[in-house]
């Protein structure tokens, strides 16, 4: 069971030409700048626009394959969550969630029972009777998620689901989303422009630039070896999972990092490669994190050089070409690493 989207579509100035495969039980993120065609890609899968050539298939079921096949949106069995929740303003939260089951043939009482059970499961029962305009952004987005999930869709499409939330709410909803997505059996497609969403929620990533996918693969492989400047700047970051106690983070491999912010429990830490300084000898000064490691690999990307570092905490540092020349670093050399605690950004996992 998987979602396949391999098609071309011209819409105004945009020429979308993609080949995307989203496996079941996994989250595939589509990351790209504004205007890259992310939303159009989603609308094509949803059936809001028809593709010009190619095909879209879900679980072996062809949804769109010109000229012969076009399954209308209401028969595609998809769950969609938009950036602005798009809850129907004239219906209560409960009736919004019941809308899907009702439209798919359930009786009014049965649909409401299904909706109530879904809200209960997500801890949202208290909001049942509220009209959308009375809900906060985070509450509305959770209801929208419940509305998409209650129909048990064959695939879940998330269009910037966290983008319109304020930063504090975003962290909370992201955590809920992570827990819910783990239980989704079908493929999930997450469209976002925020690399943190990708790192926190996705298993695979496809980078969409100018209507084309410029790089795709498992998160770790894309972050380790970004192939374009955009990918390097956005995603070419170091992602570390670990347990925080105050400002100390212990990684799964047992290494320790000091962060500036206090957290307790499971966290993600991200460190921009450009924030990592490399030294030949043990450095002195203020950086709280420093350790000795070895150079595993050196990649030249234009005027920048990405240096892959070995154990105990494998990560990528980005330095300029003159700097690497001055350090006379080669693969296999020993090197000292230093990182200021303020450069270690943490998010609750």
């Amino acid at each position: 069971m998987s979602l396949e989207a391999s098609f071309a579509l011209g819409l105004g100035a945009l020429a979308l030409d993609v080949d995307l495969r989203c496996p079941a039980g996994a989250v595939t993120a589509v990351l790209g700048p504004n205007g890259a065609g992310k939303t159009t890609l989603l609308r094509a899968i949803a059936g809001s626009v028809a593709v010009d050539a190619g095909h879209i298939a879900l679980d072996g079921r062809t949804l769109d394959a010109p000229p012969g096949t076009f399954v209308p949106p209401e028969q595609r069995r998809l769950g969609i969550v938009h950036q602005d929740h798009l809850l129907l303003p004239h219906l209560s939260a409960l009736d919004n969630v019941a809308f899907g089951p009702r439209s798919r043939g359930a009786g009014a009482a049965e649909a409401r029972a299904l909706a109530a059970a879904m809200l209960e499961r997500m801890g949202l029962t208290a909001l049942s009777g509220a009209k959308p305009r009375a809900l906060s952004g985070g509450q509305a987005q959770r209801i929208a998620l419940a509305r998409a999930l209650v129909t048990e869709p064959d695939a879940l499409l998330l269009d910037e689901p966290l983008a319109s939330l304020d930063p504090g709410t975003r962290v909370e909803v992201r955590r809920d989303l992570r827990r819910l997505l783990a239980a989704v059996a079908g493929p999930t497609l997450l469209v976002t422009h925020d690399p943190v969403d990708v790192l926190a929620l996705a298993d695979h990533v496809a980078v969409l630039e100018g209507g084309r996918i410029t790089q795709s693969g498992a998160i770790a492989s894309v972050t380790a070896q970004p192939r374009t400047r955009y990918v390097a700047e956005l995603l070419g970051t170091n992602l570390i999972r670990g347990d925080a106690a105050g400002t100390t983070i212990t990684t799964d491999a047992g290494a320790q990092l000091i962060a500036a912010a206090h957290h307790d429990g499971a966290v993600f830490a991200t460190i921009a490669p450009a924030a990592i300084a490399l030294h030949r000898r043990e450095p002195e000064g203020s950086p709280r994190n420093r350790w000795r490691t070895s150079v595993a690999h050196i990649d030249v990307l234009g005027d920048r050089v990405r240096v892959q570092l070995g154990d105990p905490l494998p990560m990528v540092a980005e330095v300029t070409a003159p700097a690497i020349a001055a350090l006379e670093l080669r693969e296999g050399d020993a090197v000292w690493v230093s990182i200021k605690a303020t450069e270690v950004a943490t998010y609750p996992a």
């Binding site: 609308r43 949803a46 059936g47 809001s48 209308p72 949106p73 209401e74 028969q75 595609r76 069995r77 998809l78 769950g79 969609i80 938009h82 798009l86 129907l88 303003p89 004239h90 809308f99 899907g100 439209s103 798919r104 509305r147 129909t151």
Partner: protein, 263 residues
């Protein structure tokens, strides 16, 4: 005015006040001319009661017909790329600018007993529109429905179509989407359009008298009765005018701004 509010420019206020005066003076005039001792007896004559009853029947029927037939038309105009759409819209809105008398003449040409459609209606169903209440309803609908179509078409264009896309993704077919999503979203405009159409139908005179005639108890609505009474009994005409004025004003004032003014 609040201290922080910006004072509107004096000339604008003066002109606006003059305009309000222009609209209120006729109302004051008619109130002043009315002989209040005879108003009640003037309004309870058989002719007056008939006219009031007929006006209510015709205006409410015209508003109802506008909703039933105008809603699908507004949807087609707003949402489909039907060929010749500007021409269709022009045809539908024509009664708004046409003198109603000409509308009446046109209706006569199309539906009188001597026309092909009129004679067919009569022979096949026994329906005669001229000189009948049905004809008065048709005339009122002809001039009133454009107001409804225009209002609802505008509302349909303003609906965020992503709501409809979301509903479709949840499994709703197009008719369900229209019934459970689109219609509730434009409900305020449907109500506003229906009220506008009703108000226009209530005041209809020219098309009715030309097409349906001035038959007491069948087609003589309030405006027609006022026109007739003006020749014989001015006080009766003024009493009937007061009914029209009061009913219309009450409805228009009780409509909240948000129904008539597009945000």
């Amino acid at each position: 005015m609040s201290r922080s509010g910006r004072r509107p420019p004096i000339p604008v206020v003066v002109v606006a006040a003059l305009t309000v005066l222009f609209f209120s003076l006729p109302l004051v005039g008619i109130l002043q001319r009315a002989d209040w001792s005879t108003v009640w007896s003037d309004l309870t004559t058989d002719q007056a009661v008939d006219a009031i009853r007929l006006s209510m029947i015709c205006s409410v029927s015209a508003a109802a017909l506008s909703v039933v037939f105008g809603t699908p038309l507004a949807w087609v105009l707003a949402r489909t790329a039907v060929p010749g759409r500007p021409l269709i819209r022009g045809l539908v809105l024509l009664p708004m600018v046409l003198p109603p008398v000409i509308g009446g003449v046109a209706l006569l040409a199309a539906f009188s007993l001597r026309s092909p459609i009129g004679s067919w209606l009569h022979d096949a169903f026994g329906i005669q529109l001229t000189f009948s209440t049905a004809g008065a309803v048709v005339a009122a609908t002809f001039v009133a429905m454009p107001f409804y179509v225009l209002t609802v078409e505008g509302a349909l264009r303003g609906v965020d179509q992503r709501y409809e896309e979301v509903a479709a993704s949840l499994g709703a077919d197009r008719l369900t989407v229209f019934r459970r999503v689109t219609l509730p979203l434009i409900a305020p405009s449907v109500a506003a359009g229906a009220v506008l159409a009703w108000a226009r139908a209530l005041g209809e005179f020219g098309a009715t008298i030309t097409f349906a005639g001035n038959v007491e108890g069948r087609t003589r609505t309030l405006p027609l009765a006022v026109y007739l009474e003006l020749e014989s009994d001015e006080q009766a005409a003024i009493a009937l005018s007061l009914v029209l004025l009061v009913v219309s004003l009450v409805v228009l004032v009780s409509l909240r701004d948000r129904w008539l003014v597009r945000r």
